[in-house]
Each structure stands twice: as structure tokens, then as C-alpha cells.
Amino acid sequence: MDLSRINVKPRIRNAWESIDLGFMMAKSWWWVLFASWFIPAAIVYTILTIIFYDDNWLAVVITWWLKPLFDRAPLFIASRKLFSEDVTIRETLKALPRLYKTDIFPWLLWRRFSLTRSFDMPITVLETLKGKQRTRRMMTLHQNTSGPATWLTIVCVNLEMVIWLGVLGFFMLLLPEEIDINLMDVIIDEGMIAQLISGSIQFFAMALIAPFYTMAGFALYINRRIRLEAWDLEIRFRHLADTQIRKMIASSSVVLLLVSVVFLVIPQNTYAGSNESLTPEQSQVLIKEVLEGDDFHKKITEKGWRLKNISEKEEEELEGIPDWLISLIKFIESIFGDMEFDDKDESSNNLAAILELLLWLLAAVVVIYIIYWVLKFYGVIVPRKKAAIDDLAPPPEILFGLDVRKDSIPDDVAGEVMNLWSKGRHREAVGLLYRSTLSLLIHHFSFKFYDGHTEQECAGIVKQSGNLDLSNYVGLITRNWQKIAYAHQVPVESDIQLLCDKWKEVSVSEK
């Protein structure tokens, strides 16, 4: 990697600008990138289509699943082309086995659904880091870039879908009206031809988007390295050094300028610059002396309040945590941390506060839900629909529309009824007996009747209670009451006599 041969302007960009740069890279090197993705993928897809000729969707799914492998060839090419190295498709294909086998299982298993795949892939393909080293590296690189990398994946997935459905829809628009076909049928149809057409379009959509996706992720990665490793400064120093060298040659002051160039290019060597004539052994001795000197052994104790920096401890603790979880937390942190990681403690605190709030809310929801179900179980609260109906029908203030107070009923009901009957006041007599029966049912037997209940319904409620004697009595008085009230027919006297005889028995019976 010769930084002086880098093909892009090495400056610090924001993440979105980097994605633009990636798209520009994909456009510039389109055919070679496309071919490097398409050729191996097409071979796999074709073989799978032949194997699963009845279920082409399986070929599509497997090809889609292998995308982390197919993305590596374009990445390999781009990493060379970025530094002006020519690489052919043939060389790339030769390098494929090596590229594919690096971390193949993690990428096809638990990392398959990583939302930052294109951004993380260079760590695997170019840096070939694994395990703890990879985790640390990812934590360093992910700061304030995991969010845009995630959105890049989401947008590209959607673009694939749009192309797939768009092309399908386009072809369907070209079909004559006589051909009755439904887009959804084509997508989910079990027919072989329909599946093949749909699957092939889906495959081409993947192939079209893949170079852009890979390059955008790669550009994000390069941008992080430019920021972290100060590539821009290094390249700038190198340019300055070249300029100074040319000037020195021109002015014949080679030695003097060479010293100044060395001073400019390698500032960390300033103290050693004057010892150029020393042998390596002498230098080592000198270095050892300097290191043992007071400057390197000063101990200064400073006391004061400051926020805890737990990043190192965090890194150690995070070693066992899956990458996707770290990515997710970083993503959330990048959203809520004002998109700046310079003040990492503050963003961490913000995130912690938000997570704590969410957890408290969750706990509250769970508690409320449990309370709701307990109350509902015991009938304390009623469902909205029933409640809405009940709201519309407030319970009547005067129960049953009758004067059913105990004191409104004469002490000797039977005697009073027979007295009225003997005077020919039949309706009043039966009415009194019926009203007394209702009062008895409400106060003595605690039946609940509403204004809307008819006599027949009241009798039905009593019947449901299972008290046979009471039920028979209420049935008989109800029939007689209905006869006189609605049929305008006088009941048989024997019935009234029977009801009066049984009144005392019923009125003192147990509930």
C-alpha cells in the first residue's frame, strides 16, 4: 500500500460524503467490479437453478445467503485499484479461494444479518483480523460510522426490491390485456417458469446493486482510516518532502535542505537526527540512557473530579458479546449521542439514561398489563365494547319502574288481594299480588331486574335460579297478570286463591 499512489483525494469526509465517493468508485470501475461479483454468483445461481429446477426460490435464497462471499471479489479489486494497482478479472478469480475461505462460517452464519456488512468486510478481507483483534478494530472503526453503514444496507435492500418488482411490473405492463396475470401470482406462484423469471430478475437486481453497496462500505472504511491514521497528513508531508527535495537540488544546497526535509517528514526523529553517524549499537545504548533518564520517570499526581472513562474496561468486557449486539448499541449510540463521539462519555451517559427510561417504561407496562388482567379476571373492569354499551345505559334510579319498597306492600298481602277480588276489583287484586311478588323477589331473594325486563323475562330469571317452587309460583302469577293486563281477560278465581294460599309459604321460604 503506497499512500502516495492513492486515487482519491485523501481528506476527511463525513459518512454520507464517503458513501457518495463509494458510488463514484463503483461507477468508475463498474465493469470489472460487476464482472467479479457476477461471474462467480451466476455460476452458483445457475447450478442451484438446475438442482432446484422445481423450486427456483431456493436457488435465489441460497445465492442471496452467499452474498457476503460474492462481495469480496469487488472489494479485493477496489483495494488494489484505489492505490493504482492494476488487477485483472483473471487474477481476481485466482484469488477467490483465498478470499472466500477467510471467516467463511461467521459471515454465513451469525454475521449474515449484520446491518454493517459492507463496512465490516474490509476488516476480514483486507486486514484478515479475527477474534479479539477484530472486535477491538471494529469498535474503533464503528464510531459514528455504524449508523450510516446500517442505513446504506437498508437502502440497498430496498433498491433491490424496487428493481425486482419494478422490472417484473414493467414486463407485465407490456403483456397484452388478454393474458390474465397477477403480479402477486408471479411473485409467489409455484409455477416453474414464473419462479424462474422472478428469481432471475431478483438475481440481476442483486448483481446490479452489489458493486455500489460494496464500494460504499469500502469508502466508509477508507474514510475511517484516513481519519484515524492521518493519511491525509502523511500524504501531505510526502508531497512537501518531494517539493523540498526538488528545490534543494535546484539551489545546490542539498545537505542543508535534506536536513530540513528530514525534519519535516519524520518529526519524531528530530532528537535522533543529529546522531546519524552513530552505529546501531551506539544508538541502542543512547536510547537506553534516554529512556532511563528522569524525563521518562517523572511521576505527577493530579487530583480532581472527572467523568469515568470506562472505554478500556468496556472493551475487555465486550469480548464475549456478539458483534451484531455491539453494532446495534453503537448504532443506537450514534443516533442518540448527537452523532459525535468526541465526547464519548456524554453520549454513553445519554444512551444509558435512555435505556434506563425504556426499561422503566417496559416494567411499568408489564405491571399495568398484569393488573389489568387480574382486574378483568375478577370482573372489576369490563371490555371497552361492553363498557361503551353500559355508558349509554346508566342504571335506572328507580329500580324496575315500580314502587317495590317493602313498606309499600301491605302486611297481609293475601288478605288484601282476596278482599279486592271479592269487591270485583280484579285488576287491582292481581296487580297487588304481582307487585308484592316482585318486591319479594328483589328484597328477599335478591334478584336483579332492570327496567327493560318484561314479565316473561323476570319469570325466566327466576326459573334459572333453580328454585322450583318459587319458579312455579312466579310462572303462575305472571301468566295471570299477563292475562288480565294484556288480554283483558279475568283470571280464574281458583288460580288467585291458590296464589294467595301459597303466598305466605313463598314469602317465608329460604333463599
Partner: protein, 327 residues
């Protein structure tokens, strides 16, 4: 006393016939006893019915069977968006041979008219039924034409397919005495129905059985007339009015039922009493018929509809809260 005895005998005779009618229709239309009862109530009360239910539940069969049982004429109109009023009522034609205009009567000239999917036609065509439903006559070229008696319209609506339909205007809805929901039969009834149909037939038509008439149209008219002798206490009339007025006061209803609903409830409750072999009406009869008589005459407020309540829910609430007549 003599009058009372005569009345009771009359009721008994009518009850026997109607029970036979009910039983015969019930044997054909299996598992729809409630629907059969409501249709008979509407017939005896001289009204029209709006039937709502998904296709395939035997609405046409019901109408045909009813017509066959009383020796009545049956006609069916399939309502479509391009159906014209004259296609329903009829029109005049110039007879070249006789050199004069003659009336070609439409399908409304029948005893039982099945207006299938009535909401598929625009309001203009639906309105053609208004006069004939209310006045029992049709005016063609200025000449009123009498409709055979009894005349009953059974209009159907599909509750699911609402696309491309024209909701019936309130004025026309009010002309229907009852709105009847026809639902899927119970499991056992459906098994029996399938068994009967598949026993000796190779298609799914249900009318192969030759029905013998139980009575004639004149008998039905006589029973309709005799219903007026069924006793309705003033308290019950007040109760019916209270129920209808409650629909106008309910906050859940933006437009309550009209006075025609009161009349309908009383007419139907008389028929219901007859079906239960009584010569007097009970509050229970009023309650039983109130819902099918009023459910299509009320408009619910938006809030209530958003809450997922139906007209039946609100009416059930009204029936529970309005004080039933007592003492």
C-alpha cells in the same frame, strides 16, 4: 263472550295453518327457523323485507317456497347498475297489429318479488320500487295499475361486497317493514341439508320437490285482516312508542326511527302473537320484533361506529333500558 269465542276459534284455525306453513318452509330451508318466522311475520303484517346475508343461504329458495305454499306468483329481478325503472314496473308498447298502445307489465306484477342485490342499482331504479311498495300500485303512462294481493318484496343485500354498490336511501329503507339477517346454519343443520340435497340429486338446485299449496292468497289476506282483532293493550302501544322515541334521544344514534317504526312494531307483534297461538300481544312480542323492525331505520353516530358497535348493539341497549309496561 260470543265474539271472544269466535275470535279464539279464528286464531286457532289461523295458527294451525300458519304452523303448517312454517313447518313446510322449515323443512325446505333447514336451520333458518328464525328467518322463516320473521318472513312469515312480515307476510302476515303485509310488509316487505330486506334480507341481508351472503350468497348461498337460500334466499331465493325461501321466496320460491313461500310463493309455492300459498299458490302465489313469484318473480325475481337481478338488480344491476344498468337496470332501468321501466325494467321493474313495465312500460307501454305500440301494438302494430292493433294500432294502439298496450301495457307490458313488469316483474313487479306478482305476489312475491325477490329483488336480488337491490343495492347494485342506482337510486333512480331503486326509487321505482317506492310507489309499488307503499301504494301497492304502479303508474304506467299516467294510468295506475293494481298489483296482485298479497304483495311482498324481499330485497336482498350482500353485507360483504360493498364495492360498486349504491346504499339504499332512508326513504326506501323505511318502506321495508323488517330487516332480516340470514346467517349460516348450525353444524348439524348444515349436515342435514347437505345430506338431503345430495341424496337423490346430481346438482345443487333445491326446488325439485313439488310443493303442494297449504293455502291460497285469499286465505293469507283473510289472516292479515284477522290480525286486527288481536288485542294490543294501550300500555303496549305506549311501550312501542317509547322504544321508538328512545332511538331519537340516544346519543349513539344521529337519526332515530320514524313513526312508521311504531306502526311496524305493533303490526309485527300481532303477527308474532299469532305465531305463538295467542290472541293478545305481550311486551315480549314487542321486544322480539323491535330489533328487525328498527335496525335499518336508525343511523349510528360516527363515534359509535368507530367503537365497533352495530345497530343491534345499540337497540339491545335501548330495549334493556326502556321501561317495560307494568301494572
Amino acid at each position: 263472550m260470543n265474539d271472544e269465542t269466535t275470535s279464539n276459534e279464528e286464531i286457532d284455525q289461523s295458527y294451525q295453518k300458519i304452523s303448517e306453513l312454517r313447518k313446510t318452509i322449515g323443512e325446505i330451508l333447514i336451520g333458518q327457523e328464525k328467518v322463516v318466522d320473521q318472513i312469515l311475520i312480515a307476510l302476515l303484517a303485509n310488509g316487505h323485507v330486506l334480507l341481508e346475508g351472503v350468497p348461498g343461504l337460500g334466499k331465493t329458495l325461501l321466496a320460491k317456497t313461500l310463493a309455492a305454499c300459498i299458490s302465489g306468483e313469484f318473480k325475481r329481478i337481478q338488480f344491476t347498475p344498468d337496470l332501468m325503472p321501466a325494467d321493474i314496473t313495465g312500460h307501454t308498447l305500440f301494438n302494430m297489429k292493433e294500432g294502439e298502445f298496450s301495457v307490458r307489465k313488469g316483474p313487479v306484477f306478482t305476489n312475491f318479488l325477490l329483488a336480488d342485490e337491490i343495492n347494485r342499482s342506482p337510486a333512480k331504479t331503486q326509487a321505482a320500487l317506492l310507489e309499488v311498495m307503499q301504494e301497492k300500485q304502479v303508474t304506467i303512462e299516467g294510468e295506475p295499475q293494481k298489483i296482485p294481493k298479497p304483495f311482498m318484496v324481499m330485497a336482498t343485500q350482500n353485507p360483504i361486497e360493498q364495492e360498486g354498490t349504491y346504499p339504499l336511501p332512508e326513504a326506501e329503507l323505511d318502506r321495508f317493514l323488517m330487516k332480516v339477517f340470514i346467517d349460516f346454519p348450525e353444524y348439524d343443520d348444515e349436515v342435514l341439508l347437505t345430506k338431503i340435497i345430495c341424496a337423490d340429486k346430481f346438482d345443487d338446485t333445491l326446488t325439485s320437490r313439488k310443493l303442494s299449496a297449504i293455502c291460497d292468497t285469499q286465505y293469507i289476506q283473510d289472516v292479515q285482516q284477522s290480525l286486527t282483532r288481536i288485542i294490543v293493550d294501550d300500555e303496549l302501544i305506549k311501550y312501542a312508542v317509547r322504544l321508538v322515541r328512545a332511538t331519537r334521544q340516544s346519543p349513539a344514534i344521529i337519526q332515530g326511527a320514524s313513526p312508521r317504526a311504531c306502526i311496524g312494531i305493533i303490526r309485527c307483534s300481532r303477527a308474532y302473537a299469532l305465531l305463538n297461538e295467542r290472541d293478545f300481544v305481550l311486551p315480549d312480542d314487542i321486544k322480539s320484533v323491535a330489533m328487525p323492525v328498527m335496525r335499518h331505520r336508525i343511523s349510528l353516530s360516527a363515534d359509535v361506529e368507530i367503537d365497533g358497535l352495530t345497530a343491534d348493539d345499540i337497540l339491545a341497549n335501548i330495549l334493556d333500558s326502556v321501561e317495560a309496561p307494568r301494572i
